[in-house]
Amino acid sequence: MKGNEAIAEAAIQAGCRHYFGYPITPQTEIAAYMAKRMPKIGGTFLQAESEIAAINMVYGVSSTGKRVMTSSSSPGISLKGEGISYLAGCDLPALIVNCQRGGPGLGGIQPSQSDYFQATRGGGHGDYHMIVLAPDSVQEMAELTIRGFELADEYRMPSMILADGTIGQMMEPVSFDFEIKEMPEKPWTTTGTKMQRPHNIVNSLYLKPEVLEQKNFERYEKYAVICEKEQRAEEYLMDDAEIVVTAFGIAARVAKNAVNAARAEGIKAGMIRPVTVWPFPEKAFKKALGTAKQFISVELSMGQMIEDVKLATECRVPVSLCCRVGGMIPSPDQVYAAIREAAGKAGE
């Protein structure tokens, strides 16, 4: 099964019955899968007139408490930015999939990770975050889609799957043997009062600055809890790692090959793979400082995650960048060379 199809199937299994989107390479298989399946299971598939329309349809459905999602790729996600900010401002859960491609502008259609800043800093206007999950396999595309819905509901905020064209397009075996948490009670939805309760309002407009400030404070208290509880990372060969490679998504798949090659040569290399890129898994990085002499951030961007690595490690050891951009992917050889250089073995 393709990574994109795994997302769509997992969403359906998570109880999502409403999908709104607009086609764009390399994520269109999600929409195609939904178009085929949703009508058969009593759900809604709607190809909107634009990305902006689609995200606002998500906003509407989420206000009624139903699990809902949209998906797009980089330029399309930028268009959704306003709507995502509104979702955050209304404390609405929803799942947004970004199957990234090269940018800026229309860019290209090949894989990229250059929307890291946009995703981890919120993307739209205002003080807010999304929970951002970064799968590195087709299996995780499925698993993190389910977790994405669960976390969004638990914390009442949008969550994002930050994938890329490679993971979206590739096929791997995937098992759908997941435990799915029951959806929490949602007493805040606008589904009609039946004259039994005061009416609910879903809104992000607060004209009194004191009230809006308080709303932001409360949201950031929630974010602090998430940062404490929801960090997730894969720590690979990290017990004694001196050269710590860090990468997420497809970059981590490449980097892992290089780490294995370095270990075979006796270099103490390891890898931290953030699975949550927001919250950033700072704890794993702080722990790594016990043995680490250098970090290498492997990215399909011009050095975005590297800033979080530097923040998490407080720049106590050097952090270097190993990247390809614009739709290019670093080869294991390139990462391996960077590891050798860090280990002082360059040219040997």
């Binding site: 259609i109 096929m171 075996p173 497809i250 798949r253 294995n260 080869s331 294991p332």
Partner: protein, 178 residues
Amino acid sequence: MTREYLFAGFGGQGLLFSGKVLAYKGLIEDKQVSWLPSYGPEMRGGTANCSVILSDEPVGAPIIAHPDVLVAMNLPSLDKYESEVKSGGVIFVDSTLIERKVEREDVSVYYVPATRLAGENGTPTLANMILMGKLLQVFDEYDEEHVNTALGKCISARHADLLGMNLKCMEIGRDYQE
């Protein structure tokens, strides 16, 4: 053991399909599998390729820099990837479409006039399956039952009548001797 396969040629030659059959066969045989298509703005006649990795270990990078096996179905693909094949690797060449020989001496090469054989069989679009049959025979991995099941997985119910034709072409490839 890990073996990395690169299928390369024109869009429309069925390279992605070949890769899929191989991947499903691997899956049936309990291997770890990845299948990655090029998804550029390719169309019929443009270049297309597909990377398949079969392994006993979990697959790392699904992107192949240096394949163990190259299946080249047009000249630009052979020109581009010949030098990337691992030393000791294997190259399968559709010798109807590629007139030149492989220059490397540290790889094994099989020349199969797949497009001609497919045409003679009345199935001119199935040269890909002829090469696949040869590939499996060379590696002594032509398990009829698994091949049949894998093909069944890759051919939609709507086209089930094409299964026999594909199987026939794989057998032609399997039995072809230079």
